[in-house]
């Protein structure tokens, strides 16, 4: 079998804080095949953004990679130097950061910012840069006249699209998107999702898409990763996880959405909030909030167990996996 496009193994990221080390990403595994759409979901504070920063090698102190590898097209990014990484960024992989609304430079036109990104990768004439910039704006549904606009002249949705266009300038193989739609209203959100999916099918790049709103990705992603307290608690084909969530946390996330169809039923969501990662609970980290908690959960730490096509970090699946 050929090597996957991206393969993350045992990745651990620690923030060194005044209160001691905070393990925001704890032995995470993630495999992304060429052209695949992977969604990473979980409540805020579960380590999603930290994981994306670590994969893209964009971490700054007090964050550091405490262990593990990030193999991208066969190379371990963790051991690469800044120069080698710069050669890969934008061209081989690109990142659309959370609050992309503010990630654009407010005092430069889109044209100037696109030019900088392309010029860093050498041999383009001004004419090529202009043509490619118009082309990517057109791809995301923005009139190329806006190349000469400053970010504040664009609506929130347009800024988000302009960031995605920038990420596509050099046709990378992997685009990482951290909550790109969270600041948009439902119609704008839905139309951006449809557009990302169409672009992905057209151009063939792989997407890792981070969101706290699980319902958003149900129709768009191939693979789903559910994170809780720095760990992957469930991983599997998206449809499988939505239809038969294995982990009590995934089930809780799914049941916390009111629906516009069917009878109106009272919902309770998941009581409480994710733990402080400086001092996570012993045993399973979901114990304080889990409706199925039992004695053993407080003492044994679950691993990821296979459950059909998915994997779940819950002791209830221990026996199933062993048999």
């Amino acid at each position: 079998m050929p090597e996957p496009l991206l393969s993350v193994t045992d990745l651990t990221v620690v923030y060194d804080t005044a209160r001691g080390p905070v393990t925001a990403v704890d032995h995470v595994e993630l495999i992304v095949e060429k052209g695949q759409f992977t969604a990473v979901v979980g409540e805020s504070g579960c380590g999603k953004s930290t994981l994306m920063f670590a994969v893209a090698q964009l971490l700054n102190p007090p964050a550091r990679i405490a262990g593990g590898t990030v193999r991208f097209r066969g190379e371990n990014l963790v051991t690469l130097g800044e120069r080698e990484l710069n050669a890969l960024r934008w061209r081989d992989y690109s990142v659309v950061l959370q609050s992309a609304m503010n990630a654009l430079n407010p005092v430069a036109t889109l044209a100037a910012q696109y030019k900088d990104a392309m010029a860093a990768h050498g041999t383009h004439t001004n004419e090529e840069i202009r043509a490619r910039s118009s082309e990517v704006l057109d791809l995301v549904g923005i009139d190329p006249v806006h190349l000469h606009s400053y970010p504040h002249q664009l609506s929130g949705g347009m800024r988000q699209r302009a960031m995605i266009a920038m990420a596509l300038l050099l046709t990378p193989d992997l685009v990482i998107m951290d909550e790109p739609t969270s600041a948009l209203d439902v119609v704008a959100q839905r139309s951006l999702m449809v557009q990302i999916k169409e672009l992905q099918q057209l151009l063939g790049f792989a997407v890792v898409f981070v969101t706290h709103d699980m319902s958003l990705v149900s129709h768009f992603s191939d693979q789903l990763l559910v994170m809780y307290a720095g760990q992957v608690v469930e991983q599997g084909p998206t449809r499988t996880v939505f239809d038969h969530p294995s982990h009590p946390y995934s089930r809780g996330l799914l049941e916390a959405f009111p629906s516009i169809r069917g009878p109106r039923v009272p919902l309770h969501g998941i009581p409480g909030s994710p733990p402080d990662l400086a001092a996570p609970p012993a045993g399973c980290r979901f114990t304080p909030r889990c409706p199925l908690v039992h004695e053993r959960c407080h003492v044994s730490e679950p691993a990821l167990y296979e459950v059909g096509a998915a994997r779940s970090r819950c002791l209830l699946h221990l026996t199933e996996a062993a048999s």
Binding site: G156, Q189, L253, I260, P266, H268
Partner: protein
Amino acid sequence: MSPLLETIGLTRHFKVGTGLTRSVLHAVDDVDLAIGEREIVALVGESGSGKSTLARLVAQVHKPTRGEIRYQGQPLTAHRGRRAKLAYRGDVPMVFQDPFASLNPAYRVSHGILRGLKLHRPELSGAERQAEAERVVEAVGLTPAAEVLSRFPYELSGGQRQRIGFAQALAHRPKLILADEPVSMLDVSIRIGLLNVMADLRETEGVSILYITHDIAGARYLSDRIAVMYGGHVVETGPTEDVLAHPRHPYTELLLSAVPDPRAPLDVDAAAAKTDPPVVIDPTPSCRFRTRCPLAVDRCHHVTPRLHPVAQGHTAACHVTAPPEGAQ
């Protein structure tokens, strides 16, 4: 009997641009909206449709350009005394659901609540104020109340801060809470918790709520009636279940089709979902949805549709799907 609060032809324009490019932005145009006692009305619509402006008009943060607000049957005139204005502010508070904007980081949680009590209910003694502060904090589901009151905002989670926003409003013994939810959506568990707090407040405190949101599923969960805004107009209104089961305005249909529902197959009309905002700067008479509407006819380009009844208590403003009676 008249409703608790009613807006009649409520309109707010803003002047934008300077000199030659001076023009008028129609943020809210001709809105008739009624909110009954103990009623929860959801106001939904896309970003920029005028929801917050309407709430600010009702809260008397903005002065209307035209139109009237009637509260308990009486018009709110500009010339009321300070006392009447203060009483209205206590009766109809606004709760910003942005947990970071609404609490002063330098003071304990108790500060804002006690200050509000002093201002709006001066008859209470110090001990009564403390007891009342504890009661409202408990009413929004935060315990132990005395301990929560002694915390600083940074010692609370986002969801807890939002509950404090409601507790502050409750301290005034409100009749109608204007709850404005931010675009950036909250975590699912926080969101459902707040929806339940609002539902409880109506039961236990008997308040009415105007719930402003992008989240139609949440609006359905909570509200009795719904009003859909587009480009400054209310384009459809009626009992929530009826409007969502039988939407009549093409924009309401678009909104419904955009709601992500993992339990339903993907159904999205990418063409209608394109998001050019409506023209609300110097608009000419017309339907503001015409540039995105799959049903638009000639008339939509030069006549503004008005709300017409389509079912019991259900109205819609569309030349094609809701023509005035007898016009068909």
